[in-house]
Amino acid sequence: MVGILFGAGLYLILHRHFFKLILGLMFFSLATNLFIFVVGQLTRGGTAIIEEGSEEAVEPFSDPVPQSLLLTAIVIGFGILAFAIVLIRRVYQVLHTNDMDNLNETDKIEQPIYPHE
């Protein structure tokens, strides 16, 4: 599942279309998040909250650290994704193109002259 998401994300990012780029980024971050969940040893069970009076949590308890990592990662990913969507909308407004291949003006050695600032 994680592998498929990674693959699909990367494939879509390599596309030239802007919308597919966004979808690809989304899949990729989802895949990463799930991946952390998997390698962080996913367990079903109680919380890691220690009962009053006892010294240790009752087994089996799920590890809270990957969950908190994921929460942070999801929030950050969400923020970046929102930024990327706005950015792409802006690019579309300014450049009137939907195709990545039209974005190579700045890489050319002989630069088109842009008015400075």
Partner: protein, 498 residues
């Protein structure tokens, strides 16, 4: 007191940024706040540096939870040196932006963003926890994204799409690597991780694999060989006040994290990592400098040179002897200052002549011999002409390499030095020496503007001359920092058993 000192480099830019945000409409007031927090950051970095030099590694636990559970902030010599160089750069870029950045961009949140960016840099340097480091990287990256797009001109948008996409992927890789490490050793604290990695048996290959995740992720951020293409595609697009800071500092934070992790944690299979890093270093240096030779834009030449210089730093990491790491640290400081300064000079020239293209420029030497002198010092320093700072860094790296009999890599690095000199001569010829093509007009700037533009450049040149001529004590300092980096017991002890 130590706890406060560690937090100050984080708090000062944060306060400045928040206060600037409060006064969104009043740019003049934002400038005042930004100036205050730049000075305060610089001072707090100096204080922290002095404390660390005096007492060794300092740590503090945020929220006062003991080490492996709470979030640690750790300052050793290496992070302090980078912080110090970073705050000097920040100050210089701030001074430049007062006159060197157009008003709409200044009014649209340049100052708070810059301060948040510095917050991210300080955080990434001080983090003693892998996930914390990731979060600081994200803080830094989001600020970079916004700064690169700030103003929304056509080339900026083109550059930023590439920048955002590739850095987003790199962050995902970093996160995946962190996940693997957590799954393997069950901790995120760098010191505890370093300890467990050495104790646990049977995980070596898996840990090396996790290391490769970090190598790819941080390699993208540091712009090493196969992963650098986003850098020359985006760094020259924003205005100079922004790209100078990005060029000077942000990629170096990637190198910083690479050095930190590959001296502390991923040291099990050194043969493999050293071989890999040597190959990467050689190719990064060479491809970067060859790419620069083809370019005809002041900023793009400099952007390719960033890549090439990153190769030298990776070379130091690949040799992995105390002397090589010391050379790396010295070279990093030198490069942060010189690179920022060259970008600022290109900004001053462009402010006068309204162009970055080499073919439109010329005759600057006749008009502004002083600026030409400043450029010459920085450029020669970049190329490594003795007695300027680049020479000392490269000399240390080359000597360390020769001691290890890594003749091929050292040979490549010397060749790259020559080619760097070629590029710099090209800029010198085209911009400063050649007769000015007639069709370009010269912008008339008031003397005050002119002086304000020159001031940060002069300041950085003075710093460059300082580290060039006062090299010996600084080399000793770098050597001590390197010893501290390579002897991970010091780090582990300082964090876990204070």
């Amino acid at each position: 007191m130590n706890h406060l000192l560690l937090l100050l480099p984080l708090l000062m830019p944060l306060y400045g940024a928040i206060f600037s945000l409060f006064f969104w409409r009043n740019v003049e007031l934002q400038k005042v706040f930004a100036l205050q927090s730049q000075v305060a950051t610089l001072v707090s970095c100096i204080l922290l540096f002095m404390a660390v030099e005096d007492k060794g590694i300092l740590t503090t636990q945020v929220g006062n939870w003991p080490a492996p559970y709470g979030i640690s902030l750790v300052a050793d010599m290496f992070s302090c040196i980078i912080l110090l160089a970073g705050s000097v750069t920040g100050f210089a870029v701030f001074m430049f932006s007062l006159q060197g950045l157009d008003f709409p961009r200044q009014a649209y949140g340049y100052y708070p963003l810059m301060l948040f960016l510095q917050l991210g840099v300080s955080g990434a340097c001080l983090a003693g926890d892998l996930f914390n480091m990731f979060v600081w990287f994200e803080v830094l990256l989001i600020c970079c994204f916004v700064l690169i797009t700030l103003g929304g001109s056509r080339p900026q948008l083109e550059g930023s799409i590439k920048y955002v996409t590739i850095n987003f992927l790199a962050s995902s890789f970093l996160l995946a690597g962190i996940g693997i490490m957590y799954g393997l050793v069950g901790t995120l604290n760098l010191a505890e991780m370093a300890l467990l990695v050495r104790i646990l048996e049977g995980h070596e290959s898996l840990i090396t694999m996790a290391g490769m995740f970090f190598l790819v992720a941080l390699g993208v951020k540091a712009a090493v060989f196969p992963l650098f293409f986003w850098l020359p595609a985006s760094y020259h697009t924003p205005p100079i006040a922004i790209s100078a800071f990005l060029a000077g500092l942000v990629t170096k934070v990637g190198v910083y994290a690479l050095v930190r992790l590959f001296t502390l944690i991923f040291v099990l299979d050194t043969e493999l990592t050293q071989l890999l890093l040597s190959v990467i270093a050689g190719l990064t240096m060479f491809i970067g400098v060859v790419g620069a030779a083809a370019q005809t834009d002041f900023r793009k030449i400099l952007s390719f040179h960033i890549v090439s210089q990153i190769g030298y730093m990776i070379m130091g990491l690949a040799f992995f002897t105390p002397y090589a790491i010391a050379g790396l640290i010295f070279f990093m400081v030198h490069n942060i200052l010189v690179k920022t300064n060259l970008f600022l000079i290109s900004g001053v020239v462009a402010r006068h002549y309204n162009s970055f293209a080499l073919k439109d420029l010329g005759g600057v030497y006749l008009k502004q011999p002083f600026l030409a002198l400043l450029f010459a010092i920085s450029a020669f320093s970049l190329a490594g002409i003795p007695p300027l700072s680049g020479f000392w860094g490269k000399y240390m790296l080359a000597k360390a390499g020769l001691e290890l009999k890594a003749y091929a890599l050292v040979g490549v690095s010397l060749l790259v030095s020559l080619l760097t000199l070629f590029s710099m001569t090209k800029i010198w010829n085209e911009v400063f020496w050649k007769k000015k093509p007639d069709e370009t007009e010269v912008a008339l700037l008031s003397p005050i503007t002119n002086r304000m533009l020159h001031m940060p450049v002069v300041m950085l040149v003075l710093f460059i001359l300082f580290i060039s001529l006062y090299a010996e004590p600084l080399v000793h300092l770098a050597y001590r920092a390197a010893i501290q980096l390579l002897d991970s017991d010091i780090y582990i002890r300082a964090v876990l058993y204070q």
